[in-house]
């Protein structure tokens, strides 16, 4: 039974509650004596706060209290933090504006937090909020990414709105490569801004017990321990040991729920201040305005290529929009999560990347599914296509010519890639996509009056960001290990605690599979506990495709410790020695004998360590009772999933509508624990990536109003936009963790935007920016016809 658990398509044990409406999300919690909070947000992108008049509102029915930026100052509540320090190329530290949880001096984006009204009911809170009078002096907003540096400075002391001007790579060596190049390929790219759109909007509930001084915050978090750490250590709301953060079921996050938001800090603080529970649930419009957005890069890239098609250098200049403040992982996303991967799967000997991160009067931008890696992949895969086209080479052959082939491979930038076989997944993807048959399909489409295009994308990502010593040396404010506790109960079943926290990934199933496999215990006897700082050991949460590689490995390590102890106990009970005991399929067996004990019997013995009636289970001398082990795992390196995706589109020339008609991908995620869950992850990622390429765009007008602040204007991809995805795998196990796993959560969103865009550009024959909306495509085709007519 045991060995078959790895790689088994086990149905998700958590699905029953989710599909029958029995999940328990933060908004489902109601506490005795609960009050309701409503946040007053800035309607302006940039304004000075002259006065906040709450007098009328305070007198409104049902109002308990109203807190403003002045209360934050008075009660010394600290600001929100950026957790990763980036050093500019001139050696200076990044520059950050103050980020108070309630603004008192200036608001910096539409949706910025100004005050919170707390009342007996939500309706009363909303009614009173209409009576709060905020006197603003409206200032000119800085909105545009590309021109932010030449616009008025938003903050005193932050020249050119520049947070940092950072670089990576050997500039001189790269210049030399370009000097010697036979051809230099240029490309300008926009990576469009996206709204995360988790299905569950954010919510928090604060509860304070004044007699015990215990503060609890229920919140929609991917990372409850980090939330507790930040709110206690930096915002100073309550000491960590008296502060519990619970993230119950979490309905998606895509990165937007990694860190605490202003609302979390204010709700925890308000509950403590008024001594009653305070509940806040985000409305969808608030999500659009104030959830951290993703992407928003403007990039110029150049590729140096030899006549024979060998790429010799890559030079990149990127402006990354951080929005109004520096959010928690905002600074690492366009630097260390981005630049090291701009060379993709290719053996490029010299590369240089300059990133200027700018502040604008827009919602803060932070990690969003893929975080930096989609931006890197979009860049390299678009310019590889451009280069092949300019040189008249087959785009697939051009890629193959430049793949890394020997592992481990030390990139010219940062990473030492342990394993991979890029030709294997690329060739398999070409076959799966029937690349050979494309010309015929293109002709068939043409016969119907439609344009057909094919696009390739290969990618590498760096997941399971680690080891802590390395990431901390480049600015991380936290260690990036993970913890686990495997706790046998006396009756032989197991509670597993992890510091990772599922927000849709199916951890309860996948992690149980690991334990079932390691310990030979049926899945039904294993329960996963996560999302509560009072239950499990300190953890680092779920993001960056890290949970399995890092958290799963910690579980595996804790299981190893259980087996070690079990061998000692079994040896004593079986009158043998630990080194004579083998453990297999849940049984401890004395080598070359039929003497054995099941792991359940060992657990029982550990909890009843003595002799009583029929129970005869004394423990060996020096062995503690109980069977529970904790492990912290800090990987030796990142893991490096990679893959090849092929997209085919058909375009209607009359309307410009692009239809994705075929999508094939072959990914190398290392060892797969549950291929069904992996497939689901790939599906979701592809949906988001295709969404970015064709539909989604967070659009601010020149005054800083978010025009796409609802589903009436923000175009989400729908199921009927997609063909049946063809998904296959290759496998080169990771060497950086004991499970050999690499991470799969973000791959789809990383690989698909360039695959789709390369297909669209192949079909229409001209460059186009994301999202390739029907109007843009129609316009591009019309321009092409016009210029063709002119030429004729």
């Amino acid at each position: 039974m045991a060995s078959s658990m790895i790689g088994s398509r086990v149905e998700r044990t958590e699905d029953k509650k989710f599909i029958t409406g029995k999940g328990r999300y933060t908004a489902d919690i109601t506490l005795h004596g609960q009050t309701y909070a409503f946040f007053i947000r800035s309607p302006h992108a940039r304004a000075k706060i002259k006065k906040v008049d709450i007098s009328k509102a305070l007198a409104a029915p049902g109002v308990v209290t109203i807190l403003t930026g002045q209360d934050i100052i008075k009660d010394k509540i600290g600001g929100l933090i950026a957790g990763w320090k980036i050093v500019s190329k001139d050696g200076t530290d990044m520059k950050l504006p103050a980020h108070p949880p309630l603004a008192h001096d200036q608001v910096n984006y539409v949706g910025d937090h100004v005050a919170v009204v707390i009342a007996e009911s939500l309706e009363e809170a909303r009614n009173a909020a209409e009576l709060v009078n905020v006197d603003y002096k409206v200032l000119t907003a800085v909105v545009n990414t590309a021109s932010a540096m030449t616009s008025e400075a938003i903050y005193e002391g932050i020249d050119k709105n520049l947070c940092f001007d950072w670089e990576l790579g050997d500039k001189a060596k790269t210049e030399e490569a370009f000097a010697k190049a036979d051809r230099i390929v240029h490309l300008k790219l926009n990576n469009n801004r996206l709204v995360p759109n988790a299905m569950e909007p954010r919510a928090s509930i604060g509860e304070y017990n004044s007699s015990t001084d215990d503060l609890t915050l229920y919140t929609t978090s991917q990372n409850p321990h980090l939330t507790r750490l930040v709110i206690s250590a930096f915002n100073g709301v309550h000491p960590e040991h008296k502060f519990r953060v619970v993230a119950p079921d979490v309905g998606g996050g895509f990165g937007s729920k990694i860190y605490p938001y202003a609302e979390d800090v204010v709700i925890a603080y308000a509950a403590k201040k008024i001594g009653r529970p305070v509940k806040w649930v985000c409305e969808r419009t608030d999500s659009f305005l104030s959830d951290c957005h993703g992407r928003d890069h403007v990039t110029e890239a150049e590729l140096a290529v030899r006549k024979d098609g060998i790429v010799t250098g890559l030079r990149v200049n990127t402006i990354a929009n951080l929005g109004g403040y520096g959010s928690l992982f905002a600074t690492v996303t366009p630097t260390y999560l981005y630049a090291p991967l701009i060379v993709g799967l290719y053996n490029i000997p010299a590369a240089y990347c300059n990133v200027k991160a700018v502040f604008t009067n827009t919602a803060p931008v932070d990690a969003y599914r893929g975080a930096g890696r989609p931006e890197a992949t979009y860049l390299i895969e678009r310019i590889m296509d451009q280069a092949a086209n300019e040189m008249g080479m087959d785009r697939a052959e051009f890629r193959k010519k430049n793949f890394i082939t020997a592992f481990p491979h030390q990139q010219c930038l940062v990473h030492n890639i342990d394993s991979g076989d890029y030709h294997a997944h690329f060739n398999k993807a070409l076959e799966l996509a029937d690349y050979k048959g494309f010309a015929k399909r293109k002709a068939d489409s043409a016969a119907k009056g439609k344009l057909r295009g094919i696009g390739f994308s290969t990618y590498i990502e760096a997941c399971g960001i680690a080891p802590s010593s390395v990431v901390m040396s480049i600015g991380a404010g936290v260690g990036l290990w993970e913890s686990a506790e495997v706790r046998f109960n006396a009756t032989g079943n197991i509670s597993v605690f992890t510091g990772a926290h599922s927000h849709g990934q199916g951890h309860a199933t996948t992690f149980a599979q690991i334990v079932a496999d390691k310990l030979g215990v049926p899945m039904a006897n294993i329960d996963l506990v996560h999302g509560d700082t009072d239950k499990g050991p300190f953890g680092m949460g779920t993001y960056g495709s890290r949970s399995l590689a890092v958290g799963g490995s910690a579980i595996s390590k804790a299981c190893d410790k259980i087996i070690d102890k079990g061998k000692r106990v079994a040896a004593h009970m079986l009158e043998s020695t630990p080194d004579e005991i083998d453990f297999k399929d849940g049984e401890f067996i004395v080598r070359n004998s039929n003497k054995k004990k099941t792991i359940g019997e060992i657990a029982f013995a550990c909890y009843l360590p003595g002799t009583y009636g029929e129970i005869k289970s004394p423990l060996p001398a020096g062995v503690e009772p109980g069977l529970k082990e904790t492990a912290f795992y800090d990987p030796i390196n990142f893991s490096f999933p990679s893959g090849s995706h092929v997209c085919e589109v058909e375009i209607d020339q009359d309307t410009g509508v692009t239809k994705v008609v075929k999508y094939s991908c072959v990914d190398d995620f290392g060892t797969l624990i549950n291929p069904m869950i992996v497939e689901g992850q790939v599906h979701g990622g592809l949906a988001q990536g295709i969404g970015q390429a064709l539909y989604e765009n967070a659009y601010y007008d020149e005054t800083g109003q978010l025009v796409t602040a609802s589903y009436m204007d923000y175009a989400m991809p729908r199921a009927d936009h997609f063909p049946e995805f063809k998904i296959e795998y290759t496998c080169t196990p990771a060497t950086s963790n004991p499970l050999g796993v690499k991470g799969c959560g973000e791959a789809g969103a990383i690989a698909s935007p360039p695959a789709v865009m390369n297909a669209v550009i192949d079909a229409i024959g001209t460059d186009i920016s994301m999202p390739a909306t029907s109007e843009k495509v129609w316009q591009a085709l019309r321009t092409k016809v016009k210029s063709a007519k002119k030429a004729a």
């Binding site: 309706e123 909303r126 009614n127 009359d654 309307t655 025009v707 589903y711 204007d713 175009a715 109007e775």
Partner: protein, 262 residues
């Protein structure tokens, strides 16, 4: 949402009797309830008309199809009688919103709201609909008076809509990629007396596109529209579609509609 008094009327007289300056009729609530939740609208009294029997039912005669105002989009989409008489109405209703909207939203609610991107008003205009209300009968051409504006007086309740049966007709919607309302929707109806083409989504309100009508009157074929140029000067322009693009979509949608007319 602000507090309000909820009433459920069982007759037209009861509903109109409850109406006041501060009241609103609630049918499917697919626009009204979100507006109330967003505090864009608030009422003292909300009068639910869904339980009024007179507002339900589908009647087909040799000349017309009469549909009760509280008939849901899904009912219209699935009606075999309507499909025989005016299949385009079923197509139109079957593509409004999503399954949830179609199972709540109603014909009367849609036309009373007169959203400039809604689908039903185009069918009313192209099919010479007569709007039966609690007080009178109003021709579609006089019913839709402007963006979210109709000829309905305060307290007047739509009871049914009577569509005349054309020789053939078709509706083609080019959905807004975000909302899936009509970015452009074209209803083509070929009557004995002539072709009527109503366009939704393209202007501040529903209108008839005479240039296309004239061309199709001469020659009812896609080809007839090859050289038609739509004046884009008063067409909507927004982040999803410029006026020129909408003009082009009107033609391509009209062509598709002609091709699929039955």
């Amino acid at each position: 949402m602000k507090s309000f008094n909820y009433h459920s009327a069982s007759t037209v007289a009861e509903a109109t009797g409850l109406a006041s300056k501060a009241s609103a009729y609630l049918s499917g609530g697919m626009t009204m309830i979100p507006s109330m939740k967003m505090r864009l609208a608030s009422y003292k009294d909300v009068i639910d008309v869904k339980k009024i029997k007179q507002l339900h039912g589908i009647k087909v005669s040799s000349k017309s199809v009469t549909i009760g105002a509280a008939t849901k989009h899904a009912e219209v989409a699935q009606s075999k009688e309507i499909k025989k008489a005016i299949p385009a109405l079923c197509t139109l209703a079957g593509k409004i919103g999503d399954a949830q909207v179609r199972n709540r939203g109603t014909l009367g609610g849609s036309i009373a709201n007169n959203d400039p991107t809604a689908c039903y008003p185009s069918a009313c205009l192209a099919l010479n609909a007569i709007i039966h209300t609690s007080e009178r009968k109003i021709e579609a051409a006089k019913f839709f008076t402007g963006m979210f504006e109709t000829a309905l007086k305060k307290g007047e309740l739509i009871v049914a809509v009577e569509f005349s049966i054309p020789e053939k007709s078709s509706y083609v919607k080019f959905p807004n990629p975000a909302s899936r309302y009509a970015m452009v929707g074209v209803f083509v109806a070929k009557h004995k007396a002539g072709v009527q083409v109503a366009v939704t989504g393209a202007k501040a309100g529903i209108y008839r596109e005479k240039a296309i009508e004239q061309a199709l009157d001469k020659n009812f074929s896609e080809k007839a529209l090859d050289n038609i140029i739509i004046d884009s000067s008063d067409l909507n322009s927004d982040i999803h579609a410029s006026a020129d693009y909408r003009a082009s979509l009107i033609i391509s949608s009209a062509k598709q509609a002609v091709a699929h007319c039955k």
